[in-house]
Symmetry: C2
Subunit: 393 residues, 2 copies
């Protein structure tokens, strides 16, 4: 008989069970469920992009690509982000093509984190960040925005930094995400400049996840990379702008030694991103650069409709500044934990939305409604929700 096997990685064991799975388990199977939980755009990839993808396959471009990414794609990305957001990217050498923004976040953290370094994570958060910090050997330092209207402020950052320092944790980086998933918060140029000054003062690396930049509904999106390029690692990609979640095409953008380090990790981690996908992406950025603008107006209609319907039903809900989620507080009569409300809503009304507890312990009274799905599903879901809430208890 086999001996007892050697123990597994303690680091990986510390990655917590995904609270979203707990919720899905609790809901169980529901017939005809409308899912407004996940954030996967229902829009199709543009026709020119699909043609380029298929041409690459027909042309037998089935060989290894440059680990950093094919040059035409990096050139196209450089032009795209400089043109749209005045990022000031110096050239294609500062762009690395990744397996979606998820890999970008890991490359960045693996490049900068030493054991037990603190990394600030803005809560409520999408759990990817915490898990990636753990995997890189760092410590999560939560920055709770529940009492600041779900936005970062210089004071909040300074206070969190000081508290961590008092506990002996050296914070070396912060992960920011705007427009934000799940809250929809974003920042104007004055706010961003104030935040950038604080990041500079505290000498932080800044992982700026701007994957929802094209889904900015109020004002313009400004990139932290344009303000503090030397310490910003820009995380982005085509999942949201070009509705390409399942193609897994991201970028990590940075200058200098941190890019060299990420390049080494990329070679070791995945060798390169699939060649035909890179050629499809180069076409998407070149021939279909405004795909995100076309879907933005559709998303805005959706989030507006949902926010208004929820307000009419007694929720506290605003139209988000960006992204494609409505972040809403449940009516007071349902108490301060939306988890049982969401379970019941799924089981009894056939509408799945995510409880705030998935994203933060201090935002349990909130729910996230994804408006990425089809319009008709959204309409049916609103009708179901309305009928459910108006039903006598």
């Amino acid at each position: 008989m086999s001996k007892e096997l050697n123990p597994l990685s303690r680091l990986v064991e510390r990655i917590p069970h995904d609270p979203m799975l707990d919720f899905l388990d609790k809901v169980g199977p529901v017939e005809n469920l409308i899912d407004l939980g996940f954030g996967d755009p229902d829009f199709a990839v543009g026709q020119t992009t699909k043609e380029a993808f298929k041409q690459s396959i027909d042309a037998d471009h089935s060989h290894y690509a440059d680990g950093q990414g094919i040059l035409p794609l990096r050139q196209a990305a450089c032009h795209f982000y400089n043109d749209k957001y005045a990022c000031g990217i110096q050239g294609p050498d500062d762009i690395l093509v990744t397996v979606g923004a998820a890999e970008s976040i890991n490359l960045a953290l693996m490049a900068i984190v030493n054991p037990r370094d603190g990394v600030m994570i803005v809560e409520p958060e999408y759990s990817q960040y915490s898990n990636s910090v753990l995997l890189a050997g760092g410590q999560k330092v939560p920055v709770d925005t529940a009492t600041s209207d779900f936005k970062l402020t210089p004071e909040l950052i300074q206070r969190t930094y000081d508290q961590a320092a008092a506990q002996g944790i050296k914070v070396i980086a912060i992960i920011v995400n705007y427009p934000n998933n799940p809250t929809g918060s974003s920042y104007n140029l004055d706010e961003l400049t104030a935040l950038a000054n604080t990041f500079e003062k505290l000498n932080l690396w800044v992982l700026s996840d701007e994957i929802y930049a094209e889904q900015t509904f109020k004002g313009s999106h400004h990139s932290l990379y344009a303000i503090i390029p030397e310490r910003t690692i820009l995380i982005t990609g085509l999942s949201k702008s070009h509705s390409m979640t399942g193609y897994r095409l991201g970028f990590v953008i940075a200058h200098g030694a941190v890019m060299t380090a990420m390049r080494k990790i990329q070679d070791t981690l995945v060798t390169c991103v699939a060649t035909p996908i890179q050629e499809a992406a180069a076409s998407a950025l070149t021939l279909d650069p405004d795909a995100g603008i076309k879907t933005r107006s559709r998303y805005l209609m959706r989030v507006s409709k949902v926010a208004h319907a929820l307000t009419d039903l007694g929720f506290h809900a605003d139209i988000p500044t960006g992204a494609f989620y409505v972040w809403a507080k449940i009516p007071d009569k349902f108490g301060d934990d939306a988890f049982p409300f969401c379970v019941e809503l799924a089981q009894k009304a056939g509408v799945q939305i995510f409880p705030g507890s998935i994203f933060s312990d201090t935002a349990k009274a909130y729910v996230r409604i994804s408006c990425a799905g089809a319009d008709k599903d959204l309409d049916t879901a609103i009708n179901r929700l309305s009928a459910y809430l108006k039903k006598p208890a």
Copy 2:
């Protein structure tokens, strides 16, 4: 002015510069160079696979896939590896779809390595393994096969284990790769069983990289997963069997808690593999399962031709047991380091092959000739090599 940035990861800084790049730098640009260095198959992906890939794109399968991999692909892989090598994989839950075998190796190491754990790496080696061990926070423990005909033996493993222990290093795992890149070595069932007994006795995790299984020229390929499934993490994929290097489609196969751990890492690291590529791969395994057998005979012709030609020219070269490289000792008159020989050969004869020093410090007199490229290039390269060697000095 900006402060000095926080230091980068010390772990990543320990990943050495790639010796292959040093070699390529030294060679510099050469016109009409025939590259027998890299191992990228020249064969096209099968037509049915390309059609399935394009159908997936046309059908707008551009959404997130299950992080473990789409079920039809895992079912197809389960059947394929059980059918070909009697692996005894219990079901699709024991298979995880990855971004090429490279990601598989990292998932496996991240799942089992704790800081400073020793991982045995068979030398000569493809540097991916060493770098992945470093990235996972482990220590490389080299097992030098140069004095045992480039094959592992129980005695060699035991001796290396004991030497590491004497230095205070606890070896918890070994990475084996057969058919081997670069040496072409493989093992018959008796040899493998003896190795498996040793791995069991020393209580090692076994990462068995069998990506070249379909390119076995002598006898049959036997999988360690069939012998010691509870401690074997099988690394494989379609890069070599289906000439799909640039599609980045790998598998990691394991049972029990280590699979659960790898699944968590996969979710954090890349979310999932691109959906259309998974659908293409499912088609490849189902409709074109013998792609590897078709190319095997072509590879065997190539390696035989090269081995014979080199022998005629004074090299020590055997036909490899598997994979698609010829591993040969340079003629004695060129000394015991093939590096300058390879540089000159590239620059003066226009033929690029890799010096053994890229793969091991103790196999410097060897060269690796990749037979993955087109037949006509191979013929031209042999002619050039022959003319170069026969030229009076």
